[in-house]
């Protein structure tokens, strides 16, 4: 576009309108093509995908697993969050309704999301999981919020958590403290 020169000499009104139209098109194109190095906020920050259940795990009606759990290191009185993948290998849907931990009395299920460039966070009353569904609790999306832990959470520590489901099932999980992203 840079070296273009437009010549207009004693043009009729129709030619002018035509030129205006061309310019508008070129501006729209420039906007679409020219600035493609900007951050794309439209992508959802948390992933939620369906995967096929591993056949060896199948066969039970209720069969939900926690994989790859970790919690962010922090000091007593500050904030931390725990992350993992929930996988429903069973035949029945369920919902995670509460989480408790040794580290703090105040543990909540949260969801972070972006809205018009503003990062928001909301407490979730439950997170549903369908058969064959995997739900990621990952930075920027669902997380287990550990409010002002009463103990230091140092790298390498292990902290026990209880995950309560709507069905009455409870998963006990020792979560490793450490940041796989650093």
């Amino acid at each position: 576009m840079n070296n273009q020169t437009f010549f207009i000499s004693s043009a009729s009104v129709r030619t002018k309108i035509h030129l205006l139209f061309m310019l508008c098109i070129s501006i729209i194109l420039t906007l679409i093509v020219g600035c493609n190095n900007k951050v794309d906020y439209s992508k959802s920050v948390f992933e939620k995908q369906d995967t096929l259940a591993d056949l060896s795990m199948a066969g039970k009606e209720w069969n939900i697993h926690v994989d790859g759990a970790w919690a962010r290191p922090t000091k007593a009185g500050m904030m931390s969050a725990a992350y993992f993948k929930l996988q429903n290998y069973g035949y029945v849907p369920d919902s995670l309704i509460r989480v408790s931990s040794d580290a703090s009395k105040d543990v909540q299920i949260h969801l972070s999301y972006i809205n018009d460039g503003i990062m928001m966070m909301e407490e979730q009353q439950f997170v549903s999981i369908q058969p064959n569904e995997q739900i990621s609790f990952a930075p920027g999306g669902y997380h287990i919020m550990i409010i002002q832990p009463t103990i230091d959470m140092n790298e390498g520590d292990s902290i026990s958590f209880l995950l309560y489901f709507n069905s009455g099932m409870i998963i006990e999980e020792d979560i490793h403290v450490g940041n796989p992203e650093l």
Binding site: F6, L20, G34, C35, V39, M79, A81, M121, M145
Partner: protein
């Protein structure tokens, strides 16, 4: 780069406006950075995590500064922004002439002591500092860089603590050696560090 556009028509004001906007759009996408915000208009007296007074932007003249905006009661997004600052520093090879600042927009709770602990948790080096200050000064600072915050989820927890969170802009910015903000990106996205590293490398050379 934009060659003058030659249009010998005086009357077509609309045409001129359209052309001007085209030139503007073009220059906004080009490599030479335009100034987003000149920080030299005002001086902000802030405190770092060691309670040492920091004057912004004067104290950083002659250096590039990467600024992230965080609050320590934020467990999910702000650590991503802080990690991105750390990653940019690491990928640049810990340059001496680039400073990294995590500036808190929650000065009531983020005292220098709290920021000191936050800095320890992230094990960063001396070129990474966390800043706070008088609430009114911090508010003016955030206004000047257009970082917005909004209180959310204030409540008493099961154990009787009063907590609240802040919805906030997600930004990392780069200030040049003259105290001008020239780059602004989303702060927490994993793709951000490589973009800023590229930009900074082309600027520093």
């Amino acid at each position: 780069m934009n060659t003058p556009i030659k249009i010998p028509i005086k009357s077509s004001v609309i045409l001129w406006l359209v052309l001007l906007s085209l030139v503007f759009t073009q220059s906004a996408c080009m490599d030479d950075y335009k100034v987003i915000e000149d920080m030299n208009d005002t001086s902000f007296e802030l405190l770092n995590q060691d309670s040492i007074k920091v004057r912004f932007p004067e104290d950083f003249r002659g250096q590039y500064v990467v600024l992230g905006f965080v609050y320590t009661n934020c467990p999910d997004i702000c650590p991503l922004i802080t990690q991105n600052l750390i990653k940019i520093q690491k990928d640049l090879g810990y340059p001496d002439n680039v400073q990294f600042l995590g500036i808190s927009f929650d000065p009531k709770r983020d005292t220098p002591d709290v920021l000191h602990r936050y800095k320890e948790v992230f094990k960063v080096n001396e070129n990474v500092n966390f800043l706070t200050g008088e609430p009114i000064i911090v508010q003016n600072f955030m206004d000047s860089v257009r970082v917005r915050t909004q209180e959310s989820m204030r409540k008493i927890t099961e154990s009787g603590k009063e907590i609240y969170f802040l919805n906030h802009s997600d930004k990392i910015m780069v200030m040049n050696t003259k105290g001008e903000i020239i780059i602004e990106y989303g702060g927490s996205m994993p793709s951000i560090p490589s973009l800023i590293v590229q930009d900074l490398q082309s600027l520093i050379q």
